[in-house]
Amino acid sequence: MDTFASLMEGFSIALTPINLLWALCGVTVGTAIGVLPGLGPGLTIALLLPITYKVEPTSAFILFAGIYYGAMYGGSTTSILINTPGESASIVTSIEGHKMARRGRAGAALATAAWGSFVAGTLGTLGITFLAHPVVEFALKFGPAEYFSLMILCFVTVSAVLGASTLRGLTALSLGLFFGLIGVDLQTGQARYHFGILELLDGISVLIVAVGLFAIGETLHLAATKKQEDDVIELDGPVGMTKEDWRRSWKPWLRGALFGFPIGAMPAGGAEIPTFLSYYTEKKLSKHADEFGNGAIEGVAGPEAANNASAAGVLVPLLTLGLPTSATAAIMLSAFTSYGINPGPQLLQTQGQLVWTLIASLFIGNVMLLVLNLPLVRVWVKLLKIPAPMMYAGILIFSTIGTYGISRSVMDLVLLYIVGFIGFLMRRFEFPTAPVIIGMILGPMAEQEFRRAMTISNGDMMIFLSKPISVGLLAIALLALIGPHVWSWFRRKEAAA
């Protein structure tokens, strides 16, 4: 009841015209930067930090939160339309989303992404409102051993994107693991595989590899192989979602939110892992498993919901404990400190009104984003009417500018095109590209967590089997890995008998 009253007070402040205007401004900017590959919410908020010298705290945070949520919405658009993920949490979306677009179902893909984002964003915000404390307590139980076991579970999800040949899929995964090794090792400070190039010390951005493999590689491949006259994608069916689409989408939305929110709240959870888990789950549960790889709507609905719910999850440790668990959260934290507000365990007590207004504005921002994005679907699908050669040229320019925007480094552009060429070769020789990304994201995380766990346990491997959560995760991973084989073996035996 107390929570409810505080929330209502928050709404009364968030609904003032000036704050509504800030929220609108935030979600619009957020959607725009989400659409641009490269420019993410963290960098945008950082560039806007100087406004903290002029604008009052409530308004500034409403603006920042709007940008953050908006970017999660916008990221899916280019993933679906032109196979160019706007930020790393939308990488999985592009796997099925772009296939849907190529089949003329771009409108449905965009709509299920928008609705899924809305549903998950709202559920996530409800989670912040009512479940923040239990969720953060659960999240803190995750230490290096538990994270490592979670990563092991995530590696099982690679099997969902391996494609027809396991050998090729695993080769692609290894390439991703190698990309992930490049740069300074956190645990020893030593540089690995940097070939004397200073820019490589911080490693290669996942986004550059994703854009290189998906957008540049794909474009080069299409330009090299296809006849270009007949390559305008015709829309198939209505622009929005059909009844069937709704029926197939709502469960993935809810499941996606269930993955996204708690993992987002974990200090080392992030937004990508829930999207992998969601994609894998949807593929396994779908009645249309054969459509996966060819544009299954569940493969868009689930991961998109997961990444939006994780955005809400990230705010949980920030608002309850003052813990920034993502780059964007860290920058929002520095905005707090430039107001002389110290976010910490007492934030809710000392700045209750600010926090509740912020939460109220998240609910409002979510509605605004839906209202803003649904009509835009009609505009976006028109993009696909652009003739292929111009479209390819556009994608190349768009990706190049976006990549340059990440750090304004020429080195990044060189890398983008090297990776793009590798992507072209991979497409040409039928290697799947998604495992590269998964390997690159999971590999370094798994390695670091493993070594942290080993340092803490003084080299004793039993640490993974002596903690209940860790054991549970490993058991699920084992089950997911061998379960289907055992199952089909029994079925065959039965059929033979």
């Binding site: 806007l48 956190l186 540089a191 010390l201 200090p267």
Partner: protein
């Protein structure tokens, strides 16, 4: 795109500054430096960026300098940006780079061909003491308890902090060395920043933690983490320093400004003059207060000597940690 937005914001900030000056006329300035180019070898939003912005805000408000241009070159603890600053701004009298103790360590660990010794030291602006904490439920009640455990079996005491070779690791290594424990045997667990390290401490995953005091301050106040000692000359907020507890280890994570290489002595003096003036003004003092920064100001030759000493001391401990050659 970001530039236009920045200019727009700056115009806003300038207008604000002008308003806050009220009816007072700006003091006449007869200096040659018309605008300051601030080079931040880190991403926007971090500590060095915050220092740069605070300089901008204070100089503007006190009418010391009104035109600023920012450039960011993030990466590798400043080691990606440093060569760019050295090559791009050589001899340029109005360019300043933000840097600090972190850069000294990063240069040694990355075995970079250029280091902070290749730029011109201007002034040390702020310093932050480090703090050693344990989780609320820890059996270690004092720094003596923790040291006893460390001496008994260094491998059994895990330390959470930022990246290996960074200020947190350096501090843990210095403490171990002062107690006759081999710094290389310290079970240091590196996390990507203060947030994840705090989470590991709050979740009771590690024995102890090291970080800048500000990073842990709120958790200490809330009683979730117990502060055992700080690394400054003297204690702060009721926490005694190591020195006060009889352990001679003093370390500040300091931040300062550097000029381009190859600038003339007159240019150097002029730049130093700007910062001398800024530090004496009211706005900078207020910034230190709201940000909770320790204003350990040092400029000119004294600062140059300090930087040289720090390079020797920090490279030395990194060698003993086995991280630098």
């Amino acid at each position: 795109m970001s530039n236009t937005r920045r200019e727009f914001l700056m115009a806003g900030a300038a207008a604000g500054a002008a308003l806050s000056m009220g009816g007072f006329a700006q003091p006449a300035r007869a200096q040659a430096i018309k605008s300051l180019e601030v080079f931040v070898p880190a991403a926007p939003g971090g500590g060095w960026d915050a220092t740069g912005r605070a300089i901008e805000a204070a100089m503007r408000a006190d009418g010391i300098m009104s035109e600023f241009k920012f450039e960011h070159a993030p990466g590798a603890g400043g080691m990606t940006g440093l060569p760019r600053f050295i090559n791009g701004k050589k001899g340029q009298g109005n360019a300043v780079m933000i840097g600090g103790m972190v850069m000294v360590g990063a240069g040694a660990v990355a075995k970079s061909p250029v280091t902070i010794a290749n730029v011109t030291p201007l002034a040390r602006l702020t310093g932050e003491a480090m703090v050693i904490v344990v989780p609320e439920a820890s059996p270690h009640k004092s720094i003596g308890d923790l040291i006893a455990a460390l001496k008994k079996d260094p491998k059994a005491v895990s330390w959470a902090g930022g990246s290996a070779g960074g200020s947190d690791h350096i501090f843990a290594g210095m403490l171990a060395k002062s107690q006759g424990v081999d710094p290389r045997s310290v079970a240091y667990v590196a996390f990507a920043g203060g947030g994840p390290a705090q989470a590991a401490l709050l979740g009771n995953q590690v024995t102890a933690g090291v970080s800048g005091y500000g990073e842990f301050e709120e958790q200490i106040k809330a009683g979730k983490l117990r502060a055992l000692a700080v690394s400054g000359e003297t204690g702060q907020s009721g926490v005694k320093s190591l020195k006060e507890q009889g352990i001679n280890v003093v370390l500040y994570n300091w931040r300062g400004v550097f000029g381009a290489p190859g600038i003339s002595d007159a240019q150097r003096k002029e730049l130093i003059g700007l910062f001398d003036k800024m530090v004496a003004g009211p706005s900078w003092k207020k910034t230190l207060e709201t940000r909770g920064w320790d204003g350990i100001y040092l400029s000119g030759d004294a600062y140059g000597k300090y930087v040289t000493e720090e390079i020797g001391r920090i490279t030395g401990i990194l060698k003993e940690l086995g991280l630098a050659a």
